[in-house]
Amino acid sequence: MSLQENLIKNFEAFEAQLNGHASQPEHTTRKNALEAFKTLGFPGPKNEEYKYTNLQKSLEKAFDFGKIGAEASITKEQASKYFIPKLDTHKIVFVNGKFDEKLSSIEGLEEQVVIKDLSTAFTEDSEKINKLFSKQADYKKDAFVALNTAYSLDGSFIHVPKNTVVKKPIALYFVNDASEGQSFNNPRNIFHIERNSEVTFLEDFNTEGAHESLTNIVSEIIVEENAAVEYYKLQNNKDTAYHVGTTQVHQERSSRFSAYTFTLNGAMIRNNMNIVVDGEGCESNMYGLYLINGNTHVDNHTEVDHIKPNCVSNELYKGILDDSSHGVFNGKVFVRQEAQKTNAFQSNKNILLSDTSVMNSKPQLEIWADDVKCSHGCTTGQLDEDGMFYLRARGLSVESARALMLYAFAVDVVSSIKLEPLKEFLQNLISERLQNDF
């Protein structure tokens, strides 16, 4: 049985365990999403959007999907070793995609702010949820979004009402337990930030155990008028960890949204970071850093859709690739006819440290408005020989010189982080990696 058939068959079993949920309106959405998945199928090499990232082949090879949702158990010790040190956050822990209350801690949360696991929210806040669920991420366009939508029961619903500043960042730790068997899960997040509010999110992904894991996550983020959202995604996972993630953002008038994606390890990773800028005076930032070696494959697809005028988007992705690692960057920027006075900047820079590493970088700008400022630049090169010689001629060892130059290359992405403890944590992690692994 093919992977796809297997997943479709599994849906019946999944439906059977839905109990009360089966009668809810979102169930229709799930069924439609499954139909869409059947039609779309896993993207193969002919799919332009997955041209360099053949997930079909890789997933077929790595997974049997015989039993989904095997019993998982993660201890407090196991979970807490993944918590970013010194970073005071609300912690929401998911084990194999399921919310784990014992491992989570939410303290001192502002009144009115709602943090709930999605399955509870589907029951308790069904009216609210049905206005938000699957309204941003389009399951008809992407097989993984379809699959996630069909299976989405777990994840989180976070609602920040208007005029609220959430002081502590909200950290979502996704820990996969692949110790007894493969882990496959489809967490779904809905973040709804109402006007004039501010919040910071962190999504962090880790795996326990030696078997393969696949996280297929979708986060839908609605940023209302004049709200500000920072969104961090941290991927320093095992060599056996596969990841497909879609973050679908909807920005309204005068809102600010910044995304930071750090990918330090994993098997095969595909990140879709999509922003629809649907209001005037918005600011959108996307930063990314990938530092990969071994056979790691990282594909960052980003999309900014400028619908309204007077907005600024700014994108900087950097990568360092060693061994047989493979990086992909695809940056789409759409500037619609109405979106005059748009400023859109995009830059992707890469350093290849080995002959066997590969980078495919493709900017894709489509501009229909005439009064805009857009720029983009992609560079992929080797470590600068002249710089290396200069530093060695000053007495630095090859390792030190290389680490210094690579750190300098990567650091501006890290410097843009606003959470000091996270910045420090990543600076240390990266400089350690550069001194040892590469």
Binding site: E385, F389, L391, A393, R394, G395, V398, M405, A408, F409
Partner: protein, 250 residues
């Protein structure tokens, strides 16, 4: 201290150095002059260990060791310093930033305790005064947006920090105004001892009024075609290189 014997070096199969002979003793200052493209920077690069150049023949002995066996960083740790003719820009790396690592790796090599932050800062302050360089320049990305003169001054500052045994200054005077030239030359002179030596590559007699050479050599077409004392520099300034070129051909 340094003995170069029949040194031949090529890049991309093109022979640039065609049999260099030169001996430098402790305490000496040697000036190397010569027309553009004659191989002066190539010689400096080969001595510093640049791997793009292939040494096809000859021998270089430095402090009783085969210099050509050493990696660039080993040469630096053994006391060789090259002030680059065209100092490279390194985005994101400041002088202070790499110099601390450099000094401590050199100190470790020489069996000395590493500098802590305080003693490193003290050393910095002292040497900054010597070449009259500003702290803000040292905190900026190396050579990025530096003026020509700032780049050269920064090279000499690094030389002061690393306290080399053999300094090779490749056109450190180009791009310096007259005041800067004097400051830089004063700095170099203050660093001079009876145990270290300096090779200055220059096109101008002007520098040699400040840094007075014991010997002047003319490098032409990959060979040292004439050597003399500081008066030779004066003669070259006056007559140019044509008379030497003609003599070489004849």
């Amino acid at each position: 201290m340094l003995k170069i014997e029949d040194l031949h070096a090529s890049i991309e199969d093109k022979e640039i150095l065609k049999g260099i002979n030169l001996e430098v003793k402790p305490g000496e200052v040697h000036a190397i002059m010569g027309p553009n493209g004659s191989g002066k920077s190539t010689l400096a690069s080969v001595l510093a260990g640049r791997e793009d150049y292939e040494v096809t023949k000859g021998k270089v002995t430095y402090k009783e060791q085969d210099l050509l066996d050493l990696a660039p960083e080993e040469r630096a740790r053994e006391g060789i310093f090259l002030a680059f003719q065209y100092p490279v820009e390194i985005p994101g790396v400041s002088t202070t930033n790499f110099l601390k690592t450099a000094i401590n790796q050199i100190r470790e090599h020489r069996g000395l305790e590493p500098f802590d932050a305080v003693s490193f800062l003290k050393e910095m302050k002292e040497k900054m005064k010597l070449v009259d360089i500003d702290q803000s320049l040292l905190s900026r990305a190396l050579n990025e947006g530096f003026s020509g003169g700032e780049k050269k001054r920064n090279e000499v500052f690094q030389m002061a920090m690393l306290e080399p045994t053999l300094s090779i200054l490749d056109e450190t005077d180009s791009g310096l105004d007259i005041d800067a030239l004097r400051i830089v030359a004063d700095g170099v002179n203050k660093l001079k001892t009876k145990d270290n030596a300096t090779i200055v590559v220059t096109h101008y007699q002007r520098l040699l009024e400040y840094i007075v050479p014991d010997y002047v050599h003319v490098l032409y077409n990959g060979r040292i075609v004439k050597s003399g004392t500081k008066e030779l520099a004066l003669e070259l300034e006056e007559k140019g290189y044509d008379w030497i070129k003609e003599k070489t051909i004849a």
